[in-house]
């Protein structure tokens, strides 16, 4: 299967629209995916990500717009002629066929000679470490094994594009992480263009070359994981992708190329943000700061840092870090802070009730 003629194709959606009755599932959407790229469609359920994937697959028709795979307009091409591979959320393994038969299905459909099918199937079964299960029925496999079969089945035909619909959703956390590495490794080896639908931001962050965040049928932001994480384009993206502290502020004045901000409800505290076109005195802006970008100190830090005072109200140990919630006078929502765990529980831990300053460098914040 890992042929030298491995091909991958760019995918392009041009103004694709879909409505179901009165409900607009997808507003005109345009997206270009490079050959070999791994793109995740991320968003809450009902955001249109699954509809998008199904339109690429040809399982759903479009009301308007066109879908291109390679240099071909496939808008009206039926799914079986699009040269795709797909892993379904529940794997959709054929319950009446053995592992080997499941994997061979796609090759049979392409009318490959029997002997060659056997070779190909044997090779990919070996690759996903399922050789001893070739004759088992899917119902007798574990979740992870079923997932591998589904992956093998979708890859054995050497598809130009691989579609993954929540491929890890049914796996437990440990298995999920293992499978993520495996998937990424296989994808990189084959170089197959891959589109994955997920609502799991960690999965999207760790696997993708690019993440497309969607909500209510709209494409909100598309970009590299780091870029999206660090610079969310709007409130929804910042909240949906990882944890985020959103601090509502009012612009009180301008100081050179910086705006002077006053956090709502906190008298006497001043924050600063880089000037941006469109920011004027008297306007409301939101600062988004990731919890791991915030540090704590007993003493007030110097003015090069953005800092707010508060009291630690809760503590949760997260393994690699401690999470604290810091309540500030006059503000309802506490600030969430992740602090790297040191390995010494006693030394690393701060006491609930301590007065602290939460502070961060202004590079670590985004103005929404």
């Amino acid at each position: 299967m890992v042929n030298s003629d491995t091909h991958s194709a760019p995918v392009s959606l041009r103004g694709v629209t879909r409505t179901f009755g009165d409900h607009v599932a997808l507003h005109p959407m345009t997206l270009d995916i490079q050959a070999g790229e791994f793109v995740s469609l991320l968003g809450p359920s009902g955001c249109g990500k699954t509809t998008t994937l199904r339109i690429v697959a040809g399982l759903e028709s479009t009301d308007a717009g066109s879908v291109w795979i390679g240099n071909r307009d496939v808008t009206h091409v039926s799914p079986n002629r699009r040269g795709l591979g797909m892993v379904f959320q529940n794997y959709a393994l054929f319950p009446h066929m053995s592992v080997a038969e499941n994997i061979a299905f796609g090759l049979e459909m392409s009318r490959m000679p029997k002997a060659e099918i056997e070779t190909q199937v044997a090779r990919i079964i070996d690759m996903v470490h399922l050789s001893q299960f070739a004759d088992r029925m899917p119902a007798k496999l574990s979740g992870g094994q079923q997932q591998r079969v589904a992956l093998a089945r979708s890859l054995v035909t050497n598809p130009a594009v691989l579609l993954l619909d929540e491929p890890m959703a049914a796996l437990d956390k440990n298995l999920r992480e293992t499978m993520q590495y495996e998937l990424r490794q296989i994808q990189e080896t084959l170089g197959t263009t891959t589109i994955m639908v997920t609502h799991d931001q960690e999965e999207a962050l760790s696997l993708s070359d690019r993440i497309v965040v969607m909500d209510k049928g709209h494409l909100l932001q598309a970009g590299a994981p780091q870029e999206i994480y660090d610079a969310p384009a709007n409130r929804f993206v910042s909240e949906f992708l990882g944890a985020s502290n959103l601090i509502e502020c009012e612009v009180t004045g301008l100081d050179g190329d910086e705006a002077v901000l006053s956090p709502r409800g906190m008298s006497g505290v001043t924050l600063r943000a880089a000037m941006r076109p469109g920011i004027a005195a008297g306007e409301a802006v939101t600062l988004s700061v990731r919890p791991e970008r915030i540090s704590m100190s007993q003493a007030q830090p110097d003015s090069s840092h953005q800092a707010v005072p508060g009291t630690i109200v809760t503590h949760v140990f997260r393994g690699a870090s401690h999470a604290y919630q810091i309540r500030m006078n006059g503000v309802e929502t506490p600030i969430l802070v992740y602090e790297q765990a040191t390995g010494h529980p006693e030394t690393g831990k701060r006491n609930i009730g301590s007065k602290v300053w939460a502070h961060w460098a202004s590079e670590g914040q985004t103005v929404l």
């Binding site: 103004g15 308007a64 009206h76």
Partner: protein, 273 residues
Amino acid sequence: MSGSHSVRRPDLGLIALKVYVVAFFAFLMAPIVVVVIYSFSDMAYTTWPITDLSLRWYQRMLEYRPFMSSLAFSLQVAVAAAVLSILIGVPAALALARSGSRYAEAVMTFLLAPLSMPMILLGVALLYYLSWMGLGVSKLSVVLGHTVVSLPYIIRTVAAVYIQSGRSQEEAATILGAGRWQVFWHVTLPMVRAGILAGAIFAMLISLDNLPISFFFAGPDTNTLPVVMLAYQQNQFDPAIAAISTTQTVIAVIMLLIVQRLTGLHHIIGQKR
């Protein structure tokens, strides 16, 4: 094809399927529609095409005493046979669906056997047998006879539904502390309700249309509608027969509408909504 206004292309396969569905239901309804039309004919004899319409055959139907009294009796028998079939059939279906016994198929085969018995033979055999038991020509005899042929439908449909539903819900209920009967009453029974309903409808329909068994037990108090219809049409054939047939269908339709109202007809095919 590059139009940004591209519309969904007509799906030829689906169109063909829809055309076929229409044709199929036309086939299904055709002979019934013919009968319904004839019931409104003004002629004493059936000619095609119909020229004049009237309600005189419905009037005749109402005036002919045995039609109405046998219709009432037929309905009683249908309900009684369905209830009796449910009482003894549901436990059998549940047991067969979950039994690990290697005799399950043999028992199932046995329980479905009445389906393929020519009923005229069963009817006459039952007449002599029940007369020997002292039941003779009686209402109970009719109900027992009908239950024999209704039972397979209940067992078949309930077993099919029960097999499809997993064990986990019952196991969950057991873990939550439900006793055997509580599990049966609160979990199992609601799960197979669709099957019982579908089976009961089948059973009642079979009973309402049963001639060969009712035939041998028909007396002044135990005449079912098909027996009276047969006796009527052996001697004359006017559209009053079509009228009573139409009425019978309407009653059944009302029954179906009640089912639709209560639980939804989709349960008949086990559809989940």
